[in-house]
């Protein structure tokens, strides 16, 4: 059972949890004005693949304590992990992946939270 939670509060909580584990360059985008179907993205950079996995594990475990679980996704990439919490989608990426896909550049007109 998923506990309803204000999306922006969840965004903030995700950012805090990522910073606790030393994620770099944590950015939240409000996509509601620029996308028909996306609400919020939280982006963060991991310094290595083990760091990426640690960030993922930490986030999933902490949010699960509040009965929030990401929607199941197909095979994840070793460089890019997506956790889909409905309105809030979290992208954890290695530095190269973050630069290559440049999601912030793509949604450059989205407001930052």
């Amino acid at each position: 059972m998923v506990k309803p939670k204000e999306a922006t509060a969840l965004v903030q909580q995700v950012k805090d949890l990522l910073l606790e584990k030393k994620a770099q360059n944590v950015v939240a985008l409000d996509l509601r004005a620029v996308s028909q179907s996306l609400d919020y993205f939280v982006l963060a950079t991991a310094t290595s693949t083990p760091h990426l996995q640690a960030l993922e594990r930490h986030l999933v475990e902490k949010l699960e304590e509040e009965h929030l679980r990401p929607r199941p996704t197909e095979g994840q990439s070793p460089r890019w992990v997506v956790l889909d919490y409905g309105e809030v989608v979290v992208h954890l990426m290695t530095r190269e992946a973050r630069e290559f896909y440049d999601l912030e550049g793509f949604w450059a007109d989205a407001a930052r939270l």
């Binding site: 179907s37 996704t73 095979g75 890019w80």
Partner: protein, 365 residues
């Protein structure tokens, strides 16, 4: 008579995924960065899938030289419009069926043959293999299909095993490929193209979910070297987020039967259909065509109420629908209602009266 080892084309998917925007770009890191600013380029692309080559009896040995599934894809900004080209189409350039073009003259001849059939310019090509299509379907988490009549076929040589009873099925990549390859029914190639179009629309929809992007980018990296294309992987991958807003319309090139097993372009219907299909102008008022709604429960009730509010009087029926889509042979009405409902427009080869809107549970949150 065994199913031809023809193939499909989730290319779009691949392409959409990626390629959508790959006009030549200046060199330099910054120049390849995606950007939402400004209009997306307009371009024509030939997407085809290769069949399987046999080295001997029951011995498949890799991708073959025939391309039984061929699409002409036109990118118009955020819209993707694609026309399926029947494999038996006679091509004067090839001096035979269009599916032999790739084997005889490579991608360049195939592009020219398609340009001639459709009457539009093709700047780029993307030639897929069956394996690559299966991997892309797997990367988006499979597809859901509704089978109306039992589908049974086994061809060990082709590694084609199809056993589907009527009803709703969830298919993984290899199964989806088999489902699209099946052509053992009365309508043969046309029915196959309709199945491919249905799967394609679904793959694109799933590719629009950010959760599938990492898996898709992995799958693309893996399959790209199997492909024959003049799009680069970097161009394609960097554009992944652009699939978000894409709208897809799919139709089949109008043809008529001719001598032997050849099909010929039906020039009259082609002229009537293709120019509006590739045009971009939407009518301001709802076109006066019969609208039929098909679907379940709340989605059906919502659509009826909505169309009534617009002064339309649709007919309707309660029926199970796996995936929402809009079907019509009228490109103008199709464009209008597809835009209204935000649904993919699929023009089947069989006549459909007016516009048929199928509303499935996937529409509801």
């Amino acid at each position: 008579m065994r199913p031809r080892l023809s193939f499909l084309l989730l290319a779009l998917a691949l392409f959409l995924l990626g390629g959508v925007l790959s006009l030549p770009r200046p060199q330099g890191e910054a120049a390849v960065r995606p950007s939402r600013a400004g209009a997306l380029p307009e371009m024509g692309l030939v997407v085809a899938a290769r069949d399987i080559e046999y080295c001997g009896y029951h011995t498949p040995c890799g991708p073959g030289s025939r391309t039984d599934t061929i699409f002409y894809v036109r990118l118009l900004g955020e819209e993707v419009r694609a026309v399926a080209i029947p494999r038996d189409l006679y091509s004067p350039l090839v001096g035979g069926k269009i599916n032999a073009a790739y084997g005889r003259g490579g991608a360049e001849l195939l592009k020219r043959a398609v340009e001639e059939a459709v009457g539009m310019v093709a700047e780029r090509h993307l030639i897929l293999t069956l394996d690559s299509v299966a991997k892309v379907v797997d990367a988006v988490g499979g597809v859901e299909v509704v089978v109306e009549r039992p589908m049974h076929y086994e061809d060990r040589a082709a590694k084609l095993f199809i056993h589907l009873e009527p009803g709703r099925h969830y298919l993984r990549g290899a199964e989806a490929v088999a489902y699209m390859r099946f052509r053992h029914d009365a309508l043969g190639d046309y029915a196959r193209l309709d199945r491919i179009k249905g799967v394609l629309a679904q793959v694109l929809k799933r590719a629009q979910n950010p959760a599938t992007w990492p898996a898709l980018s992995l799958a693309l990296r893996e399959v790209w070297r199997e492909l024959d294309t003049d799009l680069t992987l970097e161009e394609a991958l960097a554009q992944l987020p652009a699939v978000r807003g894409l709208k897809l319309s799919l139709a089949t090139l109008p043809t008529r039967e001719g001598p032997g097993t050849f099909l010929y372009v039906d020039e009259e219907r082609k002229a009537a259909f293709l120019s509006p299909f590739f045009g971009t102008t939407l009518p301001l008022e709802p076109p006066e065509v019969p609208v039929h709604l098909k679907g379940e429960g709340p989605a059906l009730a919502w659509a009826r109420a909505w169309l009534s509010a617009l002064g339309l009087n649709p007919t309707w029926e309660e029926a199970p629908v796996a995936r929402s889509a809009l079907y019509t042979q009228d490109p103008v009405a199709g464009a209008y209602f597809a835009d209204l409902f935000h649904l993919p427009l699929l023009a089947p080869h069989l006549p459909v009266e007016g516009v048929v809107v199928e509303l499935g549970p996937d529409l509801l949150p």
